[in-house]
Symmetry: C2
Subunit: 351 residues, 2 copies
């Protein structure tokens, strides 16, 4: 077994703290990755704090992982020692259901091994995430990080990036379409960059007038302050797709009414309470209110390659792991532009 250092939440009410644990020795299909950077996703906080009622402790969070391959199993063909590699939100899945066979493992009908706060395929061994020095993952659930992608800025692509890329692709966003992005946080800022890169005319809807400059710099063509609902009226029936990245309570009908015929609003944030949809918001214009969850391995690789070609990464603030609780507090207050990423070397140095 491989002795590994990490940071773990030991309970829902204590901040992450140093935690030593063991990883399995790499099997013949596994790669061992020395972790360099790990993004801090809002879902890390929800789960570390037990807010989704699904938490198992100790919990080593982190599913936006970038590192260097340190060793490969005998049967591994896709990676070599020294390669840059990434790990996203899951490290295995059933592989035999229709969704897995179609490369949409995120919708696996069997057991999925979440990268942390989950279990391996034995449904017993707990999984530990990227707030740690190394991780062992089957090569088929490991991503290539193309040369030219800054590794810190690439880490959030593994969750925030694919979560926004996948619905933009699935619903076929293209040149000249009007795309809205509700909320300019970790997900939203990636949504803006990606939608703009696909040629869409992008509007950011935000409650913070102060974010207009950022929005435009990220690639948005328009900025609407949603505290002034009258500013939405002229936009009715104009949008092809609206990406809703907001987890706080908000009125989705305001945005549904901006969709043109057959337009789609895609929820990628996870509001705690149910979202209230007025019947006429969807019946008018045959609109759709859809959800989307991260992406499969194939599409995640496609997204990474796409981002490398276009030099798209996340805007990040790199922190040492010792400041994780402060990062959690600031993330909760949306005081980050736009993603904290842990420099895992700080964990090695801190030992």
């Amino acid at each position: 077994m491989l002795k590994t250092n990490g940071y773990a939440a030991m309970s829902a009410t204590t901040p992450p703290e140093p935690f030593a644990f063991e990883r399995r020795e790499p099997g013949e299909h596994d790669v061992l990755i020395e972790i360099l950077f790990c993004g801090v996703c809002h879902s890390d906080i929800h789960q570390a704090r037990g807010e989704w009622n699904n938490s198992t402790f100790p919990m080593v969070p982190g599913h936006e992982i970038v590192g260097r391959v340190a060793r490969v199993g005998a049967a591994v063909t896709k990676f070599r020692e020294g390669d840059m590699a990434g790990v996203g939100c899951f490290v295995d899945s059933c592989r035999v259901c229709d969704n897995c066979r179609e490369g949409l493992e995120q919708y696996c009908e069997g057991h999925t091994a979440a990268t942390y706060n989950g279990t391996e395929m034995d449904e017993k061994t707990p999984t530990y995430g990227g707030y740690s020095t190394q991780i062992v993952v089957d090569e088929n659930y490991t991503l290539r990080i193309p040369a030219g992608l800054d590794p810190a800025g690439a880490a959030p692509l593994l969750c925030a990036g694919i979560t926004t890329y996948s619905p933009l692709r699935h619903f076929n966003v293209r040149e000249g379409q009007r795309v809205g992005v509700v909320g300019l946080g970790g997900l939203g800022h990636m949504g803006v960059k990606l939608a703009a890169s696909m040629g869409a005319d992008v509007t950011v809807f935000s409650t913070s007038p102060s974010k207009e400059g950022d929005a435009r710099q990220l690639g948005a063509h328009h900025f609407v302050v949603t505290r002034e609902p009258e500013s939405l009226a002229p936009l009715a029936n104009k949008f092809d797709l609206i990406l809703d990245t907001v987890s706080a309570p908000h009125d989705v009908n305001l945005y549904l009414n901006l969709l043109r015929r057959d337009g789609v609003m895609v929820l990628v944030g996870v509001p705690e309470k149910p979202v209230e949809v007025q019947a006429f918001s969807v019946i008018s214009n045959r609109r759709r209110f859809a959800g989307s969850s991260i992406g499969g391995i194939r599409e995640t690789q496609e997204m990474l390659d796409y981002c490398a070609e276009r030099r798209i990464t996340s805007d990040v603030e790199v922190i040492p792991i010792q400041r994780i609780e402060e990062a959690y507090e600031r993330t909760v207050k949306a005081d980050v532009r736009y993603r904290f990423v842990i420099d895992i070397d700080s964990l090695r140095r801190g030992q």
Copy 2:
């Protein structure tokens, strides 16, 4: 002007009563239709009783109209005197917006002339519906009723039929798919007949165990009593499309969770209060919650031809117009299998 007799609600609190009014003389593009039958849609009741806060009185309801062409304007090419003709939920639209040009007039971006409780294209002259002896409609907004369709049973096709046919077609229901129909009323019973005719494996979800026999006779293959939520558990992730015809408050998440990946739930009923959608109900399996509104003229004609070929009509209870208030009461109580249709001859005889 053409003296016309009808039944009108004179206020939101009085039952429909005899009402004499005038129709325009047919213009060169108009057809004059002697009305034979008019269906009683639940929306007639909502509007006659002012429940949608959009009512103008006097109101002559009725938008499921079948009759015989009595006269045609000089430029009319699609109809001749003696033809069977139908009129649905609208009698004109802007004709120039993208949606009108695409034959999706129900989503017209300009003014639509609703068949009743609306205004003509001048946005002033009130429109009066099918609870009347005759109606004058532009030939382009008039449907052909194919020979072989029983005229009383065909009347509800103009609203209940097209409202269910259109989303089944739009979302491409086909042989072997699993389709659910929530609610077995005027809309639901047409949804069952149509989905079954398209080769789908149809499940009816109903709160009334007593409707199982009817559901099967209409073509349903399965019947689930939704008062027993545990009966839904084995159906999770199985359905391609679920047609939600219920206007009463109900938990849509129960049904969303039955959709397989990329499945769609289509709301065609109009619940008064917002529908509460849990984020994970749509994020899981990338599900969609959509709405759909009636259908365009082209698709309505396609539906009528489709129904004629397959001998599909609505199951109706024909009543004289003098019993309209009783029909309203029974419709509100869902005590009709499955649509009241007014025999307009009763109005002529009653004069």
